[in-house]
Amino acid sequence: MDPNTYLRQAHTISRRTLLRIGGSLALATPAAALLAACGGSSNKTATSAGASTSASQSTAASTQSSSASPSASSGAPGASPTGGTPSASSSGSSSANVASPKDVGMVPEGVKPGGTLTVAIGTDVSSFEPQQTTETSSTGVRINLYDPLVWIENQKWVVVPWLASKWDISEDGKTYTFTLIDKEVKFHDGTTLTTDAVKKTFDRLLTENKATAAGINFVGVLNTVDVVDDKNVKFTLATPFAPFLTRMCYNSAAIMSPDAIDKYGKNYGDHAIGTGPYKFVEYRKGDHATFEKNPDYWNGDVYYDKMIYKIVPEDASRSTLVQTGEAQVADRIPPVLAKALEGNNEAGIKIDKTSRYVFMLLNTTRAPFSDVKARQAANYGVNKKSLVDNILKGYGEVPDAPIPSVAQYYKQQEQYTYDVDKAKSLLQEAGVKPGTPLTIWTPQGRYVGDKDIATAVQGMMKDLGFDPQVQVFGDFPTYLNQLDKFDCDMAILGWVSPDPDVGLNNVYAGKLAGKFPNEGSYKNPKVDELLQKAVESTSDAERTDLYGQAQTLIWQDAPVVWLDWQQNLTGLSKKVVNVYDDLQEVLVVRFSGYKA
């Protein structure tokens, strides 16, 4: 099925059903911040949230005031996956019925229960406990086992009730009260879900696990968790922080069994007790993990009897496994192997837009790129279409804004169309002499085709009269370390963020000039002011305007060369439907199944 068709269908179902189940769905400003990360083809993106200091005041105030009128909700959950204004509903349904995945359109029609699903993943699972690591690959594995209080339908950017049937946000935006659903929910070890379990989970996160990647999402944001009664739990924040609600949808915020916490302590991950549709069976390090169906699952159908994650680091081997039928799903298929899969009878390629952005930081602290004309010239002089067509093999898009089109508040800009003459005349105006040396840095194997892109850009820069050199860093930690020094003119970096604040207020933030990820030291006080106003604003229209202005200014300043919006490719058996990479690049198989 054409993935876009499915998105549209699912989207329509979602809207209708959300209206039905959430009689009082109130929608306020979409202030959800999701993660930012750098990382990529090697599957090690951290899903840790960014921008913890850029708390938005927005959702809070408007939430209380926006009384639930159906008309208010009809527009907002209609978050288009390809632009528009994706929204998070900030006050939950008061209905006792929580939406089952099928009801909210997360599972398409025509899926039958049963069978075994084998998923080949490129990176080993770093932890089965949600409160440890947050990289995308392990997150994708864990979400089968655990449930958070609220769920973000990530492809559509809508927060839906999950273990909590509703949530209320205080007027000052500092307390969030979640109400557990009326159903009895059992953990895999037989313990019943209570408000005490919720408290115990978060107490553990804020004390024992505060210095983990998962804990970093919450420490400094969340102060205390208090049990109000047997249905309500109150979360008190340090300061108003609108992205908190989306952060509660992360796997890091999944609820853990209090009995199992006592019993297993640090070894929780060896047992991985959650409330999810699949139960942990076994894990052999570096080899495979096996899950089985949870017959007592509280929320709708569970499709597979058994789920096996095979750890297969070699791209070509993963691709082979879906072709031989030894696996039904293979994550992160590089474009060069995708063509072979497309011709296969058993399997195909699932293409997903994510918020992955790959660009080249420019060194604005020294000539030539201290001059805006030289930076624009670099953008005109790089043939991005050719990079996408030849290196990404067409699995990507040429960017036309500083944030990806799937991000909130994306505003399309006029493209720097490939034009060597224009670039040359801009360079002349900037007084850049022919033969000026350029140093280009690139990691290898981190982003799709990174080194090839750098080499191609080297040739294009040569065409403009530069004398460019490429320096390749095979080891990514070394590369990160080198970036801090930034003894170069251009350096490839990737970033992931469906949230405009994380997308803009890091890479282009004056406060981070000279630091990761703004190592090119771009600084425009006007942009900083707009971005600051935007996170403080409570008005959707105003934020649209502010982020729009900021994007236009950044686009004109050309602090980086925008290279590509990479699409993620998953090898997928033709018998299985509804597997996707979400906007944060997490491979979601939880809602998939065999075709009926």
Partner: protein, 306 residues
């Protein structure tokens, strides 16, 4: 003999100590900060510092090394900074997987390699000898990486005879064992041929033949025994080759072994794992070579240690 053995065992200690210093220094002097990698790209500097303190990476290098050695003396290799599991429990299953694969490869390499070597040597310059020599040359010059992928294409994808990846039943062993053993097999075959030819031309073999002993008896009881010494040396060294060659084979076939795991751990700057893993592989390498040295004396009674 006993004294010699003991002295050799005692000598292992400074060797492994040297390895531990080298690995420790190389890791800690390599750019790349584990704390930053764990914290993720958007953590604040304070959060990164906190993780650094927790891992003890804020201490001076000599202090870190001292702590490491003290723990090591107690048999504690530390904990993975990523999974927080004990290094021993991280390494053990992977080490076993590698030993299984390398063991199978070694067995195939020795049995097949020696057989081919003997056939070649006894039919010097015949067509069979020429074919086997060319095959051996090919085996030596084929990269494991490429060979593995070709075998997968042919036997998994095209014929569907063997699984393409992972470990499990016996069928999982076939392709990775073949890939991993190819180089060692070719080396053993060439070495057997060469040293056997050497021996077969010596006077005592002529004497044995002149006594009227059958050719096969001469070959096995007289010639082969003496031809074994250089072959054994090569086999011992091949253990190291197999352990390092296993990285590529393990990657291509997704074998859950230690080679690939160490490479991943270096990339993630998981210092305790890398230190423990390198120490373990170094220990295996020196111990195997010690065993080979001792075996010389058993195979060839002329060799005496004192």
């Amino acid at each position: 003999m006993l004294a010699y053995t003991l002295r050799r065992i005692v000598m292992l200690v400074p060797i492994l100590f040297g390895v531990s210093v080298l690995v420790f220094m190389m890791l800690h002097l390599t750019p790349g900060d584990p704390a930053r990698l764990i914290a993720g790209p958007t953590a604040t500097p304070e959060q990164v510092d906190e993780i650094r303190t927790m891992l003890g990476l804020d201490q001076p290098l000599y202090q870190q090394y001292y702590d490491y050695m003290v723990r090591l003396a107690h048999g504690d290799l530390g904990h993975s900074v990523i999974t927080h599991d004990a290094v021993t429990s991280e390494l053990a299953p992977r080490f076993i997987a590698t030993v299984q694969l390398s063991g199978a490869a070694m067995l195939v390499a020795v049995v097949v390699g020696m057989t081919f070597g003997i056939i070649s040597a006894t039919r010097q310059y015949s067509i069979v000898d020429n074919i086997l020599s060319v095959l051996a040359l090919l085996g030596l010059s084929t990269p494991a990486y490429w060979l593995g992928l070709m075998l997968i294409l042919l036997f998994s994808l095209h014929f569907g005879w063997f699984p393409a990846a992972g470990s499990g039943g016996l069928s999982h062993f076939v392709l990775p064992t073949l890939t991993l053993s190819m180089f060692a097999m070719a080396t053993v075959a060439r070495m057997t041929r060469g040293s056997l030819l050497d021996v077969l031309n010596q006077d005592y073999v002529q004497a044995a033949r002149a006594k009227g002993l059958s050719e096969s008896f001469v070959l096995i009881r007289h010639a082969l025994k003496n031809a074994l010494i250089p072959v054994m040396t090569v086999v011992g060294l091949q253990v190291g080759q197999l352990l390092s060659g296993a990285v590529l084979t393990e990657t291509v076939f997704s074998w859950p072994g230690i080679g690939r795991f160490l490479v991943d751990s270096i990339e993630a700057r998981d210092f305790p794992i890398v230190q423990g893993g390198v120490l373990l592989t170094a220990a295996v390498f020196v111990i195997v070579n010690l065993i080979v040295d001792l075996l010389y004396g058993i195979v060839d009674p002329r060799i005496r240690y004192s």
